[in-house]
């Protein structure tokens, strides 16, 4: 290998914007390499902010912003960040972006910000973000890093939204705040139905994530770890 490097032609091949490799950056995290269900990262936020779908969406958008821009910035600076202090440099960039998101949420969607505010601050500790900074952005160019950020956020987001869908539907009888299960079915107005309080509690989010993992591995045997 090392002998071949010297004889490589100097001509740079322009890589296509959406070649096969680039498409894989987006599609792989959706399923086979999902950050939550396969890499088991970012579980805390999957449990904490999936009680309501609106919160899950706001969280996803916030993570999208932080991860895509963070990935791009770190990728652009990857050759100038001294490797001995790279973690702290990544943290500073991440913290800056998270603060920006927090301020924007407070300015434009104050009600939501009040509910998810504490978790937005905690995006900085979301393992997916530091994981992608460290594992991908530090070693790749800006464009693939941006795609990687989008892909991983989408993989994270769809799990969040699916979990939140079931939790909000069965826990509160609403979706995005709109009533789906009619009031008249409830026991308080003469029906037989009750909201499932278990859905509001975090353990149920864990069970739901577990069920998604179960379905995923039943469909794709290569994800099953060999004991």
């Amino acid at each position: 290998m090392s002998t071949e490097v010297g004889t490589m032609p100097e001509v740079k091949e322009a890589s296509p914007l959406f070649g096969k490799k680039e498409r894989l950056l987006i599609t792989d995290p959706l399923n086979d390499n999902n950050p939550i269900t396969v890499q088991v990262l970012g579980i805390c936020s999957a449990l904490a902010i999936t009680v309501k779908m609106a919160n899950a969406l706001v969280m996803s958008i916030s993570v999208l912003f932080v991860l895509v821009f963070g990935n791009m910035i770190i990728s652009a600076l990857r050759n100038t960040i001294p490797s001995r202090i790279r973690i702290i440099a990544q943290l500073v960039i991440c913290a800056g972006l998270v603060t920006l998101v927090d301020i924007m949420l407070k300015a434009y969607v104050y009600d939501v910000s009040k509910q998810v505010g504490v978790y937005v601050g905690l995006i900085i500790t979301n393992c997916i973000i530091m994981g992608r900074f460290e594992a991908f952005a530090m070693g790749n160019k800006v464009w693939p890093s941006a795609l990687d950020g989008i892909g991983n956020t989408l993989g994270y987001a769809w799990i969040l939204v699916v979990v939140a869908f079931f939790r909000e539907l069965f826990g509160s009888g609403t979706l995005m705040g709109f009533r789906v299960i009619p009031e008249s079915l409830y026991a308080t107005s003469g029906g037989v139905y009750f909201n499932n309080n278990m859905m509001i509690l975090p353990p149920m989010a864990l069970v739901l994530v577990g069920i998604i993992i179960w379905i995923q591995r039943a469909r794709n045997a290569k994800l099953i770890e060999q004991a």
């Binding site: 009750f194 278990m198 179960w214």
Partner: protein
């Protein structure tokens, strides 16, 4: 019997490989072995064999639960008529009470078995393995730990959750970490607290024309009364021993539980070590409360030890839940530790935390989770002791 055997033999080909109903082979197999002890013998080297198989074991446990079930049916009726001010003495209106209770309890039993076995059959057909009989006992335990007024759809949801998430995801019968029936109850307890606790669900107060609930009636259990400091509402010792109190269907009678315990211990199916150590744990905690209660001016803590244990589901959990061989510890020393802490925690939770009027369910589930750890340390201690002994001998 011969006619039955012939019928089974006639049906067999269509369920065997290549037959029309091949998909249902394991369902057929399970029903066949239910009727007749299987004829096939182990043909490779076997170890210790016991003529009693899982089906017979499970059946024995169900037999042990029958006193609780029958008494529970009667008690449902008894509590109902008490609320309406009729048949006040326990001996009055025996058949009325029993029939009323049976009509309330049987649908819950049917739903629990229907949903649980349906899911079990489904999983066995998909995974192509023989149907295990673990659910036979769970299916009977679930109705016994439900309040009488629980809606049937909740029983179905709780059972489905317990069988799928509590058992099948871990690999089915014998692999579950948590007791299946208690998983169902805990799920419903946290999911629908208004229908699983409080003072509205333990006694059925449906009234026909011309009937009405007596003045001053409260449907709260003794534990519910005690949790809010109303000691007058706690039933006397002998009533709680026989089970004349409001509560989950099968849990109220310590006497019926003891009948079941006798059968389980006599047949060697239930571990007497666990039962005894749960009891001792309860005695220890209730005793401690007796000692510190007067100083803290806490009336709940001052309930005499025996009375404290008779109340609520302590005996039922001790006999039927804690002894579940799958979720309990396996080592003998482990069983003492496991049981002792169940008794201790059950009394501790029920007295100290008013949010959980009955601590038995949570205590057993907690110790279920701890059981493998206990076993691990017991085994390690044994290994260490033997290594030391070997070193001394050498």
């Amino acid at each position: 019997m011969n006619a039955l055997r012939k019928l089974v033999d006639n049906l067999k080909p269509s369920f065997s490989e290549g037959g029309k109903l091949e998909k249902l082979h394991w369902v057929f197999d399970s029903l066949e072995t239910f009727l007749f002890t299987p004829g096939h013998a182990t043909n490779t080297g076997s170890h210790i064999r016991d003529p009693i198989d899982l089906k017979r074991t499970m059946f024995m446990v169900i037999l042990a639960m029958v006193p609780c079930l029958l008494f529970g049916m009667w008690n449902v009726g008894h509590q109902h008529y008490l609320a309406l001010g009729q048949f006040l003495a326990p001996a009055d209106g025996l058949m009325d009470k029993f029939l009323f209770g049976a009509l309330k309890v049987l649908p819950i039993v049917v739903v629990s078995y229907g949903v649980g076995l349906g899911i079990e059959f489904l999983f066995c057909s998909i995974n192509k393995h023989p149907i295990q009989e673990g659910f036979l006992v769970s299916g009977m335990l679930i109705p016994l730990v439900m309040p009488v007024d629980v809606p049937l759809w909740m029983v179905a949801v709780g059972t489905a959750f317990a069988v799928v998430i509590g058992k099948e995801v871990f690999g089915g019968t014998g692999m579950n970490v948590l007791n299946v029936a208690l998983t169902a109850r805990a799920f419903l307890f946290f999911a629908y607290p208004t229908m699983m606790s409080g003072d509205k669900v333990w006694v059925n107060v449906s009234t026909a024309a011309g009937e009405q609930v007596v003045d001053g009636f409260s449907g709260a259990t003794s534990m519910g009364h005690a949790a809010v400091g109303n000691m007058a509402g706690v039933v006397p010792l002998m009533d709680s021993f026989w089970g004349l109190e409001a509560g989950s269907i099968g849990e109220t009678s310590a006497f019926a539980c003891l009948l079941g315990a006798a059968l389980l211990i006599f047949t060697g199916i239930g571990s007497w070590r666990i039962m005894l150590s749960v009891f001792l744990g309860g005695v220890a905690m209730a005793g401690i409360f007796n000692l510190v209660g007067p100083g803290l001016n806490n009336a709940y803590m001052q309930i005499p030890v025996m009375h404290q244990l008779m109340l609520g589901s302590f005996f039922f959990g001790m006999v039927f839940m804690a002894t579940d061989p799958v979720t309990a510890t396996q080592t003998s020393t482990g069983k003492w530790i496991y049981g002792f802490f169940i008794g201790l925690l059950a009394i501790l939770i029920r007295v100290v935390n008013p949010a959980y009027p009955e601590g038995m369910m949570l205590a057993i589930l907690f110790m279920n989770v701890m059981a493998p750890v206990i076993d691990h340390y017991v085994v390690q201690a044994n290994i260490k002791r033997r290594v030391k002994r070997a070193a001394l001998a050498a």
